[in-house]
């Protein structure tokens, strides 16, 4: 029905605000019932429908009602329970029982003071050897994430965009991307791509991050500016694909234009099937990539969860304003 289409936007193209596309599946049944009851007086009900939509959107549904007809509920991608970790060398505790659940199609943002453990959390999730998990669990797509090697986690669809990507002089970007792509294809039992075919495959992805072709011949991150490094990370995300992309301070060191490019690229990669976990300090990024949830991390645990309004409070009152409530 027309009403259904205009409000529901179930299969939206990526350009629309992601919020609507991810939330609609839950409210489908309501839409159905409304239109069935009042088919004639459309304008008013539509408005109230929208209001109802907006109203319900601000509340985080903790439970998932799986009674929608013909609609799959988003799967649980990542479930972290009471995760604690220390630095391997000094045994200093950094994570103190982090709890987090990320479903398909969600955009989460993690904010917090410097030293609260945000980057550590990201690194522990991808298996960085500098950190040791001392307690808790992390399940990814139903499997024990902590038992997997870093390369296994990557092939399973977990991607981390590093805060400070390191240089690898001597390995060109195209070789690196080809290696990583083929490693993934191999694990999935798919045919690998030869260099020429691969080149054809990635040329359009370069456009997505607004980078020139010649960058492929340069060595990985060698002599790259901050913006170029971050865009390189997003390019890798675009090429390798990920079910859960963790973006560690993707906005740091980027100018306004670069940030817009990166954010557009990330938005372009979002689908109802994949999720993003962003670590950031500033509201600016959140204006481009709209989060479903915002978590505040303090002293190695998530202390508060909210929506975009939380970011506004943070901006005005700082972390102290958040921790007092």
């Amino acid at each position: 029905m027309a009403l259904l289409h205009s409000c529901c936007c179930y299969s939206t193209p990526p350009s629309l605000p992601s919020l609507l596309s991810f939330r609609n599946s839950k409210f489908n049944h309501q839409l159905f019932t409304v239109s069935a009851i009042r088919p004639q007086s459309r304008r008013f009900p539509r408005k109230s429908l929208f209001q109802r939509l907006e109203a319900t959107l601000t509340v985080e549904p903790s439970a998932n009602s799986c009674t929608e007809r013909g609609v799959e509920s988003p799967k649980l991608l990542l479930e972290v329970k009471e995760l604690s970790a220390v630095i391997s060398e000094s045994k200093e505790t950094i994570l103190n029982g982090v709890n987090l659940a990320v479903y398909e199609g969600e955009v989460h943002a993690v904010m917090g003071k410097n030293g609260s453990g945000k980057s550590t959390f990201a690194k522990v999730l991808v298996g960085h050897p500098d950190y040791e998990v001392t307690g808790g669990s992390a399940m990814y797509k139903g499997e024990n994430l902590l038992g997997m090697e870093p390369e296994e986690r990557s092939v399973a669809g977990l991607f981390l965009s590093f805060q400070s990507p390191i240089e690898i002089p001597g390995v060109s970007n195209i070789d690196f991307l080809n290696m990583a792509y083929n490693a993934r294809r191999r694990k999935l039992g798919l045919p690998e791509l030869e260099p020429l075919e691969f080149y054809g495959f990635i040329a359009p992805k370069l456009k997505l991050v607004n980078m020139e072709i010649d960058f492929l011949n340069r060595n990985v991150n060698e002599n790259f500016s901050g913006g170029e490094r971050k865009r390189n990370e997003i390019l890798q995300l675009a090429i390798l694909g990920a079910d859960l992309a963790i973006l560690d301070e993707i906005d740091s060191g980027l100018d306004v234009d670069a940030l817009r490019d990166v954010a557009n690229a990330v938005n372009g990669l979002l689908t109802p099937k994949n999720s993003v976990l962003m670590i950031t300090h500033y509201k600016r990024l959140l204006e481009f990539i709209k989060p479903t949830y915002i978590h505040i991390m303090e002293d190695g645990r998530i202390v508060k969860t909210g929506d975009i309004s939380l970011a506004q409070v943070l901006e005005k009152e700082g972390y102290r304003g958040i921790s007092d409530t």
Binding site: V126, G127, H128, P129, E149, P150, E151, S154, V155, L160, F162, P165, I166, I168, P169, G170, V171, D175, F176, M179, A180, A183, R184, K187, N219, Q236, L240
Partner: protein, 501 residues
């Protein structure tokens, strides 16, 4: 050099003071008493200690060295015609210095880390004639560049592309040099440098001089490929060691430009031989020489090489070396600044596998202002019995103000007990200079490994990629694509079985 000889005196001439020591050793040669025999003082007897007045230099000689020198000289004297003036001059100066140069021992600083005993304990046989068959030349080579094939020190083949070289350029044997002007220049420069014992041995034993002459203002577009083969060799168990002494003189006049690819191939099998090669490069004002040096000698061979460069004002010298072969490989580089504003870039890569030793002793002497130099030395020791030695000396003397010199050496040790000895040394006397040096010895960087792993690349592939990329930094600098690809493939092949599991 002569000063060191004094220490060997007591050990060699350890006889009663009144005894006389006869220096000549091989009796069968006495019939060749041509005036050229420099190693047998005619009146025969020299005395030690009690009567120092008679031929004092001879008393300091190392008999082993003299013996080699004699055998070298004799192998050449079978050539009936008298040597050309430059060769004569070369042999004279070299033999003179040999009289007072002992065989290096581990106590001599320049040879502290390498063991030359396997040469010393062998019976050294100079190769006195070019190889009979030219089968080794059948190996398909990239024949796009003008090239010379030199086997055991003798030129055996001239490629047809040599005729396409610009007018005035001469590439070939000294014996076929017709131009008097060039001959005169060659005479001026040949052996104007003082090297070590091995330099002098080459001077005495070189059967021929390969001359590469570039006239003033001439820019040679395509690079010149000098391919050195070692045909004669002995096999396991044999105590004999055939020695060849190839020698090249590159003379580039003012404003000239040339690229040289110097390649040493060991051929099939693990032959045992000793290649003792020397290349002198004289670069005129504003001239440019790009020197690619690739060494893949047999794994049982000894390879000693000298590269002596003299740079006039505003000249450019670029050396890119990739050495992977030889049981004992020693490269001595000496770049002497003869005028200001020179540009020097040395990039070297050594790969040491099982029972291999690679040694690079380099010396940059800056005596004039505003010189610019950069040196990058990278080495990988892939086996517990492999070793690399690096001694990078840079002398910035008093008149070399505003010199900008940088040196970096990075070593990758892939297995326990793999050894590297690095000694970067800068001797700076001038006070308005910018000099830096750095040395790092490590395994692969964890951060880089993790980055690759985090992108789904398994640890083995990641290690391989990073080890190769370590080498790639130098290999990338080879200016000619075909050469670069060939070297890349060779290194890849060598690195794959050598990686630790």
């Amino acid at each position: 050099m002569p000063a060191m000889a004094a220490s060997t005196v007591p050990t060699i001439f350890h006889k009663t003071p009144s005894a006389s020591i006869y220096v000549s050793i091989s009796p069968c040669i006495t019939k060749l008493t041509t005036p050229r025999t420099k190693f047998r003082p005619k009146s025969t007897k020299t005395r030690v200690l009690t009567q120092p007045s008679l031929t004092p230099l001879a008393t300091l000689s190392d008999p082993f060295v003299l013996q080699i020198a004699e055998t070298l000289e004799d192998s050449l004297s079978s050539n009936s015609s008298p040597p050309l003036p430059p060769l004569e001059k070369l042999r004279d100066t070299s033999s003179q210095s040999l009289l007072s140069t002992p065989w290096p021992s581990r106590k001599d600083e320049p040879f502290r880390f390498i063991d030359t005993s396997f040469i010393k304990n062998s019976q050294i046989l100079p190769i006195s004639s070019p190889p009979q068959s030219l089968n080794f030349l059948d190996v398909p080579t990239d024949t796009q560049f003008p090239s010379l094939a030199i086997a055991d020190g003798y030129i055996v083949n001239y490629s047809p592309q040599l005729s396409e070289l610009p007018n005035g350029v001469f590439v070939g044997s000294l014996l076929s040099l017709n131009s008097e002007a060039i001959m005169k220049r060659v005479f001026e420069y040949v052996s104007s440098f003082q090297g070590d014992l091995f330099w002098s041995l080459n001077g005495v034993g070189a059967p021929d001089l390969v001359v590469v002459y570039v006239p003033e203002g001439c820019r040679v577009e395509s690079p010149l490929h000098l391919k050195f083969f070692s045909v004669e060799g002995s096999y396991d168990g044999s105590k004999s060691l055939p020695v060849s002494n190839p020698r090249v003189l590159v003379l580039v006049e003012k404003g000239g430009e040339i690229g040289i690819i110097e390649e040493y191939v060991g051929g099939e099998g693990d032959k045992c031989y000793w290649a003792n090669s020397v290349m002198e490069v004289i670069i005129g004002e504003g001239a440019k020489v790009s020197h690619s040096y690739i060494q893949s000698q047999s794994l049982s061979a000894a390879h000693f090489k000298w590269t002596s460069v003299s740079q006039e004002t505003a000249s450019t010298y670029e050396l890119i070396e990739v050495s992977t072969g030889g049981k004992l490989s020693r490269h001595n580089v000496c770049v002497q600044q003869v005028g200001p504003e020179t540009f020097t870039e040395l990039s070297t890569f050594h790969l040491s596998g099982s029972d291999q030793t690679h040694d690079l002793h380099s010396k940059l002497v800056m005596d004039h202002p505003r010189g610019f130099s950069r040196q990058l030395h990278k080495c990988i020791v892939a086996h517990s019995t492999g070793q690399v030695v690096f001694d990078g000396n840079i002398q910035v003397n008093r008149k070399a103000q505003q010199t900008d010199a940088g040196q970096l050496t990075r070593s990758l040790l892939l297995q326990p007990r793999a050894t590297v000895n690095v000694k970067p040394n800068l001797q700076i006397i001038a006070d308005d200079v910018k000099c830096s040096h750095g040395a790092a010895i490590s395994d692969l960087e964890d951060d880089q490994l993790f980055y690759l792993q985090a992108r789904g690349i398994d640890i083995e592939t990641a290690r391989k990629a990073l080890v190769f990329s370590f080498a790639a930094e130098v290999i990338e600098r080879l200016p000619y694509t075909s050469v670069r690809k060939q070297v890349e493939n060779h290194i890849r092949q060598l690195l794959n079985p050598a990686l630790p599991s």
